[in-house]
Every structure is written in C-alpha cells, then in structure tokens.
Amino acid sequence: MPLDELYRREYGRILASLIRRLRDITLAEDALQEAFAAAVRLWPEQGPPENPVAWLMVTARHKAIDQLRRRTLAENKHEEMITLATPEENAPVPQDTLRLIFTCCHPSLAREAQVALTLRTVCGLSTEEIARAFLVPVPTLAQRLVRAKTKIRLAGIPYEVPDDDELPERLEPVLATLYLVFNEGYSASFGPELVRGNLCAEAIRLGRQLVELLPEAREPRGLLALMLLNDSRRATRTDATGAIVLLEDQDRSRWDRERIAEGAALVESALRGGPPGLYAVQAAIAALHAQAPTWSETDWPQIVQLYGILLRLHPSPVVALNRAAAVAMAEGCERGLALMAGIDLPGYHLLPAARADLLRRLGRRPEAAAAYREALALVNNDAERRYLEGRLREVEAGKP
C-alpha cells in the first residue's frame, strides 16, 4: 500500500490509540507526524516493513518518549513515561477511535470546533484542507484547533465512550457533526468539486465506523443510510456548467445503484426495533426517492406520511415546508399552496421558491414571477440564484 493511502486509512486509528496512552492530543499528533516523516525517509531505502501499521505505532511511541524525555528535564512526567514503557499490542484498537470521536464531539466544545477537530484527528485531514473546505483562513482554523485541544486538556474532557444511559444524548452531537461534514461537501456551492467530494467520502467513512463500533445504536445506521442515499445522486445534481438539476429532472440511470441498495437495507434495519429516529425517517424519505423509477411514479402519499412523522419528532417550519411540497405532489398543487400559506419562515428563500414552483405548475404566471422575485431577493447561493433567474425568465416569457 502506498504511504499516502496508508496515511489516509490508518492515521486516525493510530492517533486514537496513541492519544489513549499519552493522554495528550498534541503530543500524539506530533509523534505520529514524525513517524510518518521517518517512513517517508526510510521505507524507500530499506523497503517497507512487514507490518507498516505496527512499525508506525512503535516509531511514534518512541518519538513521543523522546519528546517526553526532553520535557522531563524541565518538569516531572514520570507517570506518562511509565505508561509508555509498558509493552503493549501494536495494533490500533477500534474502541480508541470511538473514544476519540466522542472527545472531539463533546457537547462542551462549539460545533465548529467539533467539526474541525474530528476532521483533523479522526480523518487525518490537514489544517489547510479543512480550511479550504470551509472557506476559513488557515490561521483561523489552526487557532480553532489549538483552542479546542487546550480546552480538552484544561477542562478535563474525558477520553471515553459514554455510558449506555448517556449514549443517546452524547451521540447527538456526533451524528450532527458527521451530517454537517457531509452536507458541507454535498450542498456547498463553493470550492473545487474534489475538496467537497472528499468531505462526503470522509463523513460516510466515519459513519461506517460508527455503525460498526456501535452495532446496537439505530440512529447511526439511519444517518449512514441518509448519507449514502443522498450521495448516490451527487453526480447528477449539477450539469456540466455547474447549474442545479432538480430531482425531477435528474438522469436516474446515473444514480449509484450500489449506494442505493446499501442505503435502503440500512434504512430498514434503522427503522426496526423501536420508535423511529430523526435520521432514519429522513433516510426512509430519501430511499423512496432513490427507488422511484420516475419523479411522477414516486410514492408521494408515503412521503407525506413520513414527513408527518418527522414533523412530530422535530417540529420545524422547514420540515412543514417539505411536507407541503410532498402534499402538492400527492394531492395537487392547490393543497400544497394552502399549506405553505400557513408557514412562517421569514428570510428563507426556499419558501417563496417552492410557492413559485407550484404557481408555475398551475399556470398562474404573474403570481409565480412575483414569488420567484421574492426568492431571488433572499437567495445567497450562486447556483440557486442562476436557477431561480432561469425560471423567472421562463414564466415572464410565458413558457408553461
């Protein structure tokens, strides 16, 4: 395996195990970087070791011991030296990755710090890569990481998987962080496609790990299903010029069937064995879309029902808007418009955009044009703006 691929696949796992022993994220990071640097230097000359992961772990541990020796000249660090001196297994323990995820996503850290820290440590993305993906200056992101690590150390944020009774509460920020990383890659209109695709891939990879490590929990399965099902459509969401292609107009033959099959199977198991969770219900909706042969043959009544469940679990005007859009498909545009009239979402461009869409379908062109203009006044995203401008031109020109 080439070294860069090894880095991608094993960095987070090795780091997690090092952190458990060293109880110091920065020390573990520095030591592992040094170990990889040594590998870059030595492996081409000597040939790669038989067990590269064990080699990296042992080398990193030695690098950490060196660092601590230098430190102990000034301060007492006997305790850490003793932990390091005990001979231990040289394979990363999966449980350590889970510990690291829960530490990075501890509720006492701000969401943006949780995201940055998870991508940096668990996924091994560089500070530059993360900064680029989130359009933040590198020094700002570097400082965010330093602050988060300092808080973990000073505030005594534990490096542990929470107890069963705390688990549902503690899982929530973990799942939210993963989903945010995924959505940043999936729907952001900025940044090179490569960077964004990378974020989706990392979120899915972490989602898989979480499902593997917490086989009893159902919501991680729901989230993984949701990400896979959305990701199955990624290639068809924009055209060659970068313009948005709506679900209705996407080339369904290009959807990733493998992802859809995997996602659909996960949805079923996520919905079984208890009341449905937020992610599982969203994934079930995504699965119905993914499995429909065409837009018009979509199981709209079932989607309306699922949005109803979602609305009870998480009452929000955005969910109500989605439900209203589904009702329009299942029961007619007028019904959808009537529901939308009762939704209060000031400043949110998708409400007038959805209304405009229904008015356009009903042939009520002047009203549709007014709603498109209302949406255009609120939209921030360039791709969406271009889409809405195109629609506005159509209804103004009298196209059906």
Partner: protein, 115 residues
C-alpha cells in the same frame, strides 16, 4: 480535577417565585450539596447576598477606586458557587445537571480550577 460550579440566578424569575417556592428550591439545594459531600466531591460551597450589596474595586487610570454595585445591570447574576473535586468534566457536568435550582431558571457555569 477541581471544578468551580458557578451558580447564576435569574433575578426576574426568582423574584416572581412565592416564598414557599423559594424555600423549596433552597432546601433542595442544601440536600444537593449534602449529596455531593457524601460522594466525597464537595470541597467548599458559598452562597451570596444579591448584587445590590456588592462593591467594586478596580484600577481606573492608575488610581484604585472603590465604587458601588455590579459592573452591569443583568438579569443573570452570580449567586454563589460550589467547589468540587471529581474525575473529569463529565463527572462535574453530571453533578451540575442535578442542581435543583436549574428548574427555577438558574444556570450553572462549570469551570476547571487552576491547580
């Protein structure tokens, strides 16, 4: 680790509470403190008189001045603190989450102590 659990009271909500309600909350807080003592976590606890009784000492332009009152008029004021010693932040948060006055609109800030 040592943590200071800083108690912030919502003066508006507290003033609206009838005396019996205030007594119930205070009694529950004493019991909560006794519970932490039994767990071996409690180190010190302090309750404060309201901020109107406070005096501020600060340096203004090189001169130490003594003035009346709190820094700013806020609804949330420091009402006291509980100093505990426990394993990690999660243990401290577990103690903070059971603080009875949270139900009366109080908030708690959990700060690690320099040692």
């Amino acid at each position: 680790m040592h943590y200071l659990l800083l108690v912030y009271e919502n003066t508006e909500r507290w003033s609206q509470l009838p005396d019996t309600g205030k007594r119930q909350v205070s009694d529950a807080c004493y019991q909560w403190h006794d519970g932490l003592t039994r767990l071996g976590q409690a180190r010190a606890a302090v309750g404060l008189h309201p901020p109107e009784t406070a005096t501020i000492v600060r340096n203004r332009g090189g001169r130490i001045e003594v003035v009346d009152g709190p820094f700013a008029e806020t609804k949330e004021v420091l009402g006291g603190f509980e100093h505990i010693e426990c394993k990690d932040l999660d243990a401290a948060l577990a103690a903070a989450k059971t603080f009875p006055a949270l139900k009366a609109g109080f908030a708690m800030e959990v700060r690690p102590v320099l040692v």
